[in-house]
Amino acid sequence: MSNRRQFIIRSAVLGGAAAVMGAPALLHAQAASIKIGYTVSKTGPNAGGATSQITPVYKMWVREVNDAGGIQVGGRRMPLEVIEYDDRSSSEEAVRAYERLATQDKVDFVLAPWSTGINLAIAPTLNKYNYPHLAVAAITDMAPQLVKRWGNIFFVQGGGSMYGEALMDILDVQRKAGLIGSNIAMVSIADGFGVDLSGGARKAAAKHGFKFVYDKSYPVGTQDMSPLINEAKALNPDVFVAFSYPPDTVALTEQARVSSFNPKVFFVGIGTAFPMFLKRFGANVEGIMGVGGTNADDPRFKEFYKKHVELGGAEPDRFTNINIYSSLQILQQAIERAGTLDRAAVIAEIKKGTFDTANGAMKFTDQQWRDLWFTGQWQNGQYYGVAPAGKPGARKVLLPKPAWKPV
């Protein structure tokens, strides 16, 4: 017994030591600077997403701002000073870190962490200290209720069910054009994200009269997708939909290719817009659909892409990264318009203003941005937004997806 207790105490000490080792990286320490703090999941299960979406964008923005001399506040330019912690993909760790950023480091502003869970976990803390909280990498159907509770939070990427609904809406258009039938095979990951998105899709599918010939969820960490893909293939659906996470998105696509499963619509979840996905599947990405999207022909996207590679040191994905960058532009412009570091004044500016961003003009309605891409498709080596179809720059959906090419 004493051994076990000792083990628990000692592992807690080890964990704490690890947290301290990953502690403050102070950059650009100057007298009249703006202190910015945030956590990023450098380790743990969220690291894969966080380090490809948060780290390069924050790095790029800080360099860009400081190269220009800083943010214009009142009459002077104030450079950024950054404090970064590793939250190790843990909500408790993140709450502690933001508490520390507020009370000990006394940062002027915070940037959001990655994932819905961690953003919601730190929201009460940020609300307590009244920091503007631009939660981009957070998708929740609860957003309309949450903004009533927290006047300082802003949602950029909508709610989970909206993605399912948007997909069904464009599938309905394709069916009316006679390009696809009504049979859908759907798989989703068994967690909040999968439940929200597949739930939205189910509801919208019922409304449009689509039929699910296969509708199953799989646990997080599933390594072998062959049973799912082969069963779906045996049912011969016109549409395959997966609300999946990056490793599963790759595994499902790979298995579909190996099994020669060629539905007319092949839709996979998070990760479809990642540069890693393009690298892995090359020409085979053509026609694959997924969540999110960009207007890849827009010069603003091209400029963002170039800067992301130069200053951030990596290729951006084709959805979330530009939204995160836009949220930083909004924060910067709101500070400049307020002309002060007073957080209440900055929040008021974010609520009422229209901002010029890499996404074009952005404005929050009830603290939520609703004008985003919900569905995208790889066309000619680029990932374009296809839904909502009325959004400027929306591409036509190309169906059927071409058959897999041998590798």
């Binding site: 450098k42 380790t43 072998d224 190996v258």
Partner: protein, 292 residues
Amino acid sequence: MQLIVELLLFGLTLGGLYAMVAMGLTLQYGVARIMHLAYGEWLIAAAFGAYAAFTYWQVNPLITLALSLPVGFAVNWLVYQVLLSPLVRRTQAGPALEVDSLLATFGLLFVVQGVMVVLFGGSYHSYNFAAEAVNIGGALIARNRLIMFGLTVLAGLSIYLFLSRTRAGAAVRAVATAPGNAPLVGIDVRKVSAITFAVGGALVAAGGVLASMFLTFSASMGVIFTMKALIVIIMGGVGNMLGAVVAGLLLGMAETLVARLVDPGLTLAVNYLLFLSVLLWRPAGLFGRPVR
């Protein structure tokens, strides 16, 4: 008919992955008595090695696989000599060794993971190798999965034969079953433990290279493999090579059957159900002998 071939084939290849991942740990934990928590980290490190060699220098992963054996052996031998042998001396290889090695390798986990994050970042990686479909009795399967399965069977079989048919193998088994008595017949327990631990390291490195051919991995995924390996070796009987292979195949088979015939959402449940029923029936694992 095609369904049966499919189920068998996919069940066996998934089971082969589990068995491959678990074989090294059963040696390290079963024989050397080291509960190696950084085990999965080495698997990911080897996967990154194969990834880097393939994408930057176009080295065939099968060559990396051959290299991974001596490198994995050397690195793990060093880990044992530098990090673990002081613990072995202090605890006289008694029951306290398991707890102490748990703590030491827990620290090692952070070090290895940290180095990988610095070198490769935290994002997902994957590459394409031997991914073309092979048709076996109407079932389509990627060639890299077959390579993995074949090599797992080969590795499992050769180590099993080594342990059961050779004199050196008998020494290893003696250390596994009765570390206190082995010195009485002239076995250098520390040396045998160090070498067995290093062989376990070579196996996990090979497993990492093989898995990297079809899995998408990131620097923080090691713990998933450590956990899977633990389930497999405890179910198979700690320290028993045949047990690890059989348990791995059983789990893979069960998961595939349930995912295809019942519901993919139940794979985790069937995993633990099988695990618990085996332990209720045989508390020391399928092939384990009750010790102490």
